[in-house]
């Protein structure tokens, strides 16, 4: 599974011939290190702000009207170097220390062994305590169910050996999804290549996100993320 999920869309297209030959290996399988640790890298230099990811997520996950599990915030930034458009895709950060988990009074929010933070819809009481606790505004109360809702990294697709819908559809190839425990994964390679430039949102909250950004401009990041200036991110490599 991880071999497939480590590919971003462009990489997937390039590798199509090889994949076609090895189609039998598509069903989910553990990475070489055993338990995967899913993460996402967003290369802001590749994001064109088309919102294809937003639409794909809404369609895939039947997100109700006026709510979003992911979306691309768009800004015009004017500074000494000139004026430009700035994109910032946002989603659940699937934090290593998710502040939403301990506050849930019924244990409906939990972090799986593969790093994905999930909500058990059967157990959730819709108290919105987790919505308040998330510093990234990644959660919301689903108007249709009256329960907490958020990005799941499209866990149902990942379990089927597919990429999350937002990654699959990303026009610019800005979103890279993969297994941090797999040393040969695309995400590990891209993170290593961007060493020193990889950042996370609101590191001062100590949540240790598993969504990483490359190309996050420090001069504007402080205001756009609603937090302090970032330091290069610590990447939680569990295995490998």
């Amino acid at each position: 599974m991880s071999d497939v999920c480590d590919l971003q869309r462009r990489g997937l297209l390039k590798a199509l011939p090889a994949l076609a030959a090895g189609a039998a290996s598509l069903p989910a399988q553990a990475g070489p290190q055993g338990q995967p640790h899913w993460a996402m890298l967003i290369d802001l230099r590749e994001c064109v702000g088309c919102q294809a990811c937003t639409v794909a997520c809404v369609m895939e996950n039947q997100v109700p009207r006026d709510s979003f599990r992911t979306s691309v915030f768009t800004y015009v930034v004017k500074d000494e170097s000139g004026t430009g458009t700035y994109m910032l895709p946002r989603l659940c950060n699937h934090c290593e220390k998710p502040p939403c988990v301990p506050v849930c009074p019924v244990g409906a929010t939990f972090k799986r062994d593969d790093g994905i933070v999930m909500v058990d819809g059967e157990r959730c009481v819709g108290c919105a305590y987790c919505v308040q606790a998330c510093p990234y505004e990644a959660r919301f109360i689903n108007h249709d169910t009256g329960k907490a809702d958020k990005c799941t990294f499209c866990a149902h697709r990942v379990e089927a050996g597919l990429l999350p819908a937002c990654v699959e559809t990303c026009v610019g190839g800005a979103r890279v999804f993969g297994d941090l425990n797999n040393p040969g994964s695309e995400i590990r390679r891209r993170l290593a290549a961007a060493k020193g430039q990889v950042k996370t949102l609101k590191p001062e909250h100590g949540t240790r996100p598993n969504v990483f950004y490359v190309g996050l401009d420090q001069s504007v990041q402080q205001r756009l993320s609603g937090g302090a200036a970032t330091a290069p991110a610590e990447i939680p490599v569990i295995g490998g």
């Binding site: 979003f68 015009v76 004017k78 502040p99 009074p105 019924v106 819709g126 308040q132 998330c134 609603g226």
Partner: protein, 364 residues
Amino acid sequence: MNADIVTILSTRQDVSWLPWAVLYFFLIGLSVAAFVLSVPGIVLRRGSWIGISRRALLGAVLCGVTAPLALLSDLHQPGRFLNFYLHSNFSSWMAWGAYFIPLYLCSLLLYSWLALRPTLAAMGAQGGSATRWYARLAYGGHDSRTALAAAALLAAVGGLLVFVYTGMEVMILRSRPLWHTPMLPLLFVLTAFSGAIGMVHVLDRMLNAVTEDATRRLNRLLVAAQVAVLTANAAWLALGLAGWSASGAQAWSELAGVGAWRYAAAWAGTVTLVTLWLARRRPARGLLIGVLTLHSAWMIRWTILIGGQGVSRIGEGYSAYQLPLGFDGVLGLLGIAGLWLALYVVLISFLPWDNRAAAQGAAS
């Protein structure tokens, strides 16, 4: 490097703790504080407190019973409360609350029954169509001060735990700088006491049980409570302005420029000051003092809980909340207010709460 940033496209997160939640924090705070006010007259049998304590007990029961219903309404589906007991996650303050609320409420009801028991027995002996029921409710009518003190102690523990959990539940949220301060639980407690004093003022007038001595005593208490509220608010503001509290400084930077929040906060502060002035200079205006004090306690909670949710955690800007007319807003608030009023009508129709009955209950 300074940058001018214009947001072209973003999403706005809805307020997720609805007015019902504010109502819960308001009512449960009033209930616990009113219970404390009931102790001097009912448990300690201080003569000058008997009337005040009797109305405070009425207020504690009214608010204590209605508060959890407001909380259940905020769950969108009341039956979900069962999951609090089936799947308790004790790392959450809210989970503890699910145990503290019944502890407090049950002990409050037990305390109320023990306090009213002699009165019920007296009514059961008076004759009339309902005599039989009063006698049954009195269950012998024995006035046990030990049992009353024990029930009061249990309710006090429950009430203290309710104060602790309601404050901590909000205070620990680092994601919201306005809430992430130790001043918040303190302010919740102080405004609960001022609100409870205001509520007793109002109940005194609703029951036509006004006495000069009780009014003077309540005003004296109110002055102390409102001075404490204003001092706590000023300390909170000073901590933020001086930069001594990181969360306070951030909250101030986020909200200082927000007109809607600033006006609401200024209104809450002004009303608090007006009640302080009225209590000192126009002590006979008990109804006005009571209503305005309740309003100031409500406004402080509203400004913090609803106003605090308007601040974007992922960028700039403030989303002013517009109270909807439906059951998520005005209708919901009116519904709980109606329940409070209905319960009030039932309680005053069948039980005596005025000074004469209070004195009779204390004497028996």
